[in-house]
C-alpha cells in the first residue's frame, strides 16, 4: 500500500486539445479520494493516466515513491474497476479473478487462497464457476471488484463503477465499496459524475471542471464553503441558488431587499443560497412567486421567482401554499462569490448580520 501523488499533471490530445491541466493532488496512504465533475471535465482521463491507459503529457505521477509515468499498467501495482465491468466473458468468475495473478506467475496455492478470500468477502462463493453472463449486474460488479482485490494493489482505481446499476442497487453497492475500502485500507481513486456518490464515499473530494481542479476538500468542507460558483452549483442537491445581487453601503442587496451585511466594495456580487438553508415565514423576508412544487415525500422543493430570478426552497412542511410565499434567509449561511471570476469571497467579508425578517 502506498500514497499517490500527482504533480502538475496535464494531458494534451493531438490537435492541442487540453483535456487536463496542472493537476496537483497529494493522496495519503489509505485515503478514499473521489474525482467528481460533469462529463467532459477530464476526470476519467486523469484516472486513466494514473492507470497507465493514457500517456501523461506533462507532470509526474507517483505511486508510493515510484514515478510511474512510463510504466506499463501491469507494473504500476494498481487495480481498476470499469463502468461496464470488463469481465472476460468466456472465463468463469474464478478465472476472471485469477487471470491477473496467473500472469504475474503466482503459485497455484496463492491464487486459490486469494480468490477464495475475495469470494468470501464479496459473497461470491456460490458463483465461482459461473460465467459472467449468468450473473446479475450487481454480481458482475462484485466480480470486477474481486478481480481488483485479489491483486492486493497499492491503489484501487474506480471508473464510474456504479453507473450501470439501478438506483437501489447503486446505494447498497456504494455502502459495500465504502466498507470494503475501510476494511482493506487501500488507497482509492474513484471517478463519478454523481455528486451524491461523491459526497457519501469520499474522504476528500476533488471537483474538476474543464480539466482543472476547482476545489479539493472533505465533503462537508466543500459543501459548506464551495470555492467557486461552479462547485457551489455542482455539489449539493437540489443545487445551490446563485443569484445576482449587489453590495450597497455594506449590505448585500437582492432585488431591492437588504438580506445581510458585507464589508465589501460596492458593486455586483453573486449570492449563493442553499435551498435547504431557506425557510418559509409568515411575514418579512423575500417574496417568492411560486412556479411549481416537487414533492419528494420527506420534503418538498418549491420553485419560484424572486423578482426575475429563479429560486428554489427545500422545505419539510405540508401546509397548503399561496401563490406568493415569504422566504427567510439564514444569514450565517450566505455564500458570496465574485461575479466576474466566480471565486468565493471569504466569510470574513461578511459582517455581523441584522435580522432580515
Amino acid at each position: 500500500m502506498a500514497g499517490l501523488s500527482l504533480q502538475g499533471v496535464g494531458k494534451t490530445y493531438s490537435g492541442n486539445v487540453d483535456a487536463v491541466t496542472g493537476v496537483e493532488i497529494e493522496i495519503a496512504d489509505g485515503e478514499f479520494i473521489v474525482l467528481v465533475g460533469p462529463s467532459g471535465c477530464g476526470k476519467s482521463t486523469l484516472l486513466r493516466m494514473v492507470a497507465g491507459l493514457e500517456t501523461v503529457t506533462r507532470g509526474e505521477i507517483r505511486i508510493g515513491d515510484r514515478v510511474v509515468n512510463r510504466l506499463d499498467p501491469a507494473d504500476r501495482d494498481i487495480a481498476m474497476v470499469f463502468q461496464n465491468y470488463a469481465l472476460y466473458p468466456h472465463m468463469s468468475v474464478r478465472d476472471n479473478m485469477a487471470y491477473g495473478l496467473k500472469n504475474r506467475g503466482e503459485s497455484r496455492a496463492v491464487i486459490d487462497e486469494r480468490v477464495a478470500e475475495a469470494a468470501r468477502m464479496l459473497e461470491l462463493g456460490p458463483y465461482l464457476d459461473r460465467k459472467p453472463r449468468a450473473l446479475s449486474g450487481g454480481q458482475r460488479q462484485r466480480v470486477a471488484m474481486g478481480r481488483a482485490i485479489v491483486r492486493q494493489p497499492a491503489a484501487f482505481l474506480f471508473d464510474e463503477p456504479l453507473s450501470n446499476l439501478d438506483a437501489k442497487l447503486r446505494v447498497s453497492m456504494r455502502g459495500e465499496i465504502r466498507r470494503l475500502q475501510r476494511r482493506l485500507g487501500t488507497t482509492s481513486l474513484y471517478v463519478t459524475h454523481d455528486q451524491l456518490e461523491a459526497m457519501t464515499l469520499a474522504d476528500r473530494l476533488v471537483v474538476l471542471n474543464g480539466g482543472r481542479v476547482e476545489q479539493i476538500g472533505a465533503p462537508l468542507e466543500v459543501y459548506r464553503s464551495p470555492a467557486s460558483t461552479f462547485v457551489a452549483g455542482f455539489i449539493g442537491s437540489p443545487a445551490m441558488n446563485l443569484l445576482d445581487a449587489r453590495v450597497e453601503g455594506g449590505r448585500v442587496v437582492l432585488e431591492d431587499q437588504a438580506i445581510g451585511g458585507a464589508e465589501l466594495p460596492e458593486g455586483p456580487v453573486t449570492l449563493g443560497l442553499r435551498p435547504e438553508d431557506l425557510r418559509l415565514v409568515q411575514a418579512g423576508g423575500l417574496a417568492l412567486r411560486l412556479d411549481y412544487v416537487e414533492e419528494l415525500g420527506a420534503q418538498r422543493i418549491l420553485h419560484g421567482f424572486v423578482g426575475g430570478q429563479p429560486l428554489s426552497v427545500a422545505e419539510a412542511g405540508a401546509a397548503p401554499l399561496s401563490d406568493v410565499v415569504r422566504v427567510a434567509v439564514r444569514e450565517d449561511r450566505l455564500h458570496l462569490f465574485e461575479t466576474r471570476s466566480g471565486h468565493r469571497i471569504e466569510r470574513a467579508g461578511l459582517a455581523a448580520m441584522e435580522p432580515a425578517e
Binding site: 492507470a51 497507465g52 499498467p73 501491469a74 470488463a86 472476460y88 468466456h90 487471470y99 500472469n103
Partner: protein
C-alpha cells in the same frame, strides 16, 4: 399467427424437389451399370450395383501410374479443405488483430487494399501465382497447393469487424492484468472468436474443397489429385467405343458431397450464431 396456406406448402415442396432431385438422381444412378445409364439415362430408383461401384471407386487403383485410389483423392481433398480453412483463419485473424489493435501508419489504407482484393477472383492472378510457386519449386506439394490461396480478404474483414465490436475496456482490463499483446490475443480474443471461427471454417473449407482450377495447374503428380479432378478424369476416357464409367463419376460426386455436408451439419449452429450474433 398467420394461417398456413396450402399454396405456401406447394411452393416449399417445389423448392425442396428442385434442390433435392438432382442429388437423389446422382445417388441412385451411381448404383446402376454404366451401360444402363448410357442407354436409359438417369435413374430415380436404386440399382443393384451400388456396393461394387463404391468399393471400386474407393479402393481401385487407377490413373496412369496405377496407384491412385478414391481414398487417396478423398484424403487430398480433405487436406486441401482443412489446410485452407485453418490456414485462412489463422492468417486472417492475425491480420485483423494487427489492423484493429496496433496503431501504425496507413492501417486503414492497408485494410482497404486487402479488402479490394475481394474483387479479384483467383483466376486473375493464377498465372503469376503459378510462376512464383514454380520458381520456388513447390509444384506437386501440399504447400504449393494451399499456401498461395491463404490470404483471405473475406476472413480478414469478418474478424476485423468482430474485433472492433469487442469493448475496449476488455483490452484495458487485460493490460492491467498484465497480459501482453500476444497473451491478450490467445487468452481473450481467440476464445471470444470461437463462433466466428466456426463460421469462417465452413465457408473456407467448402471453398478449398471445391477448388478445381488451382490443383489442376499445380499438380501433375497423380498422388496429389483431388476428388474434383478424379471425377473429371473418369469422364475423359470417352475414346472409341468405350463408355465412361458414369456410375463411378456419380459415386465420386456423392462422396465429394459428404464431407462438406458433414462440416455444415456439425458447425451449423455455431455458424448461424457467428454470422448473426454481433453483441458481445
Amino acid at each position: 399467427m398467420q394461417k398456413i396456406k396450402p399454396l405456401d406448402h406447394l411452393v416449399l415442396i417445389l423448392g425442396v424437389l428442385f434442390l433435392c432431385v438432382p442429388v437423389v438422381m446422382a445417388l441412385m444412378s451411381s448404383t446402376h451399370y454404366p451401360v444402363d445409364i448410357h442407354s436409359n439415362g438417369l435413374f430415380l430408383t436404386p440399382g443393384d450395383n451400388g456396393l461394387a461401384t463404391y468399393t471400386k471407386v474407393l479402393t481401385d487403383r487407377g490413373g496412369f501410374t496405377g496407384d491412385v485410389t478414391g481414398l487417396r483423392m478423398l484424403m487430398n481433398s480433405l487436406i486441401m479443405g482443412v489446410g485452407f480453412a485453418v490456414g485462412k483463419i489463422v492468417l486472417s485473424m492475425m491480420a485483423a488483430y494487427a489492423l484493429v489493435y496496433f496503431r501504425f501508419r496507413f492501417a486503414t489504407i492497408l485494410f482497404w487494399m486487402i479488402f479490394t482484393t475481394l474483387l479479384l477472383p483467383l483466376e486473375v492472378r493464377i498465372m503469376p501465382s503459378y510462376q512464383v510457386m514454380s520458381t520456388l519449386g513447390l509444384l506437386n506439394t501440399y504447400t504449393g497447393l494451399i499456401v498461395p490461396l491463404l490470404a483471405s480478404a473475406t476472413g480478414t474483414f469478418f474478424f476485423r469487424q468482430f474485433f472492433k465490436s469487442v469493448p475496449d475496456e476488455l483490452l484495458e482490463a487485460a493490460r492491467i492484468d498484465g497480459a501482453g499483446p500476444w497473451k491478450f490475443f490467445i487468452d481473450v480474443l481467440v476464445p471470444l472468436s470461437k463462433t466466428m471461427m466456426a463460421a469462417i471454417f465452413i465457408i473456407m473449407f467448402i471453398y478449398g474443397w471445391n477448388q478445381y482450377l488451382w490443383p489442376l495447374l499445380m499438380t501433375t503428380d497423380e498422388h496429389f489429385y483431388t476428388l474434383m479432378r478424379g471425377i473429371k478424369s473418369i469422364l475423359q476416357v470417352w475414346v472409341g467405343s468405350q463408355i465412361p464409367d458414369y456410375n463411378e463419376a456419380f459415386a465420386l460426386a456423392v462422396l465429394a458431397m459428404l464431407p462438406p455436408v458433414a462440416v455444415v451439419v456439425i458447425f451449423q449452429r455455431m455458424f448461424i450464431k457467428g454470422l448473426t450474433e454481433s453483441d458481445k
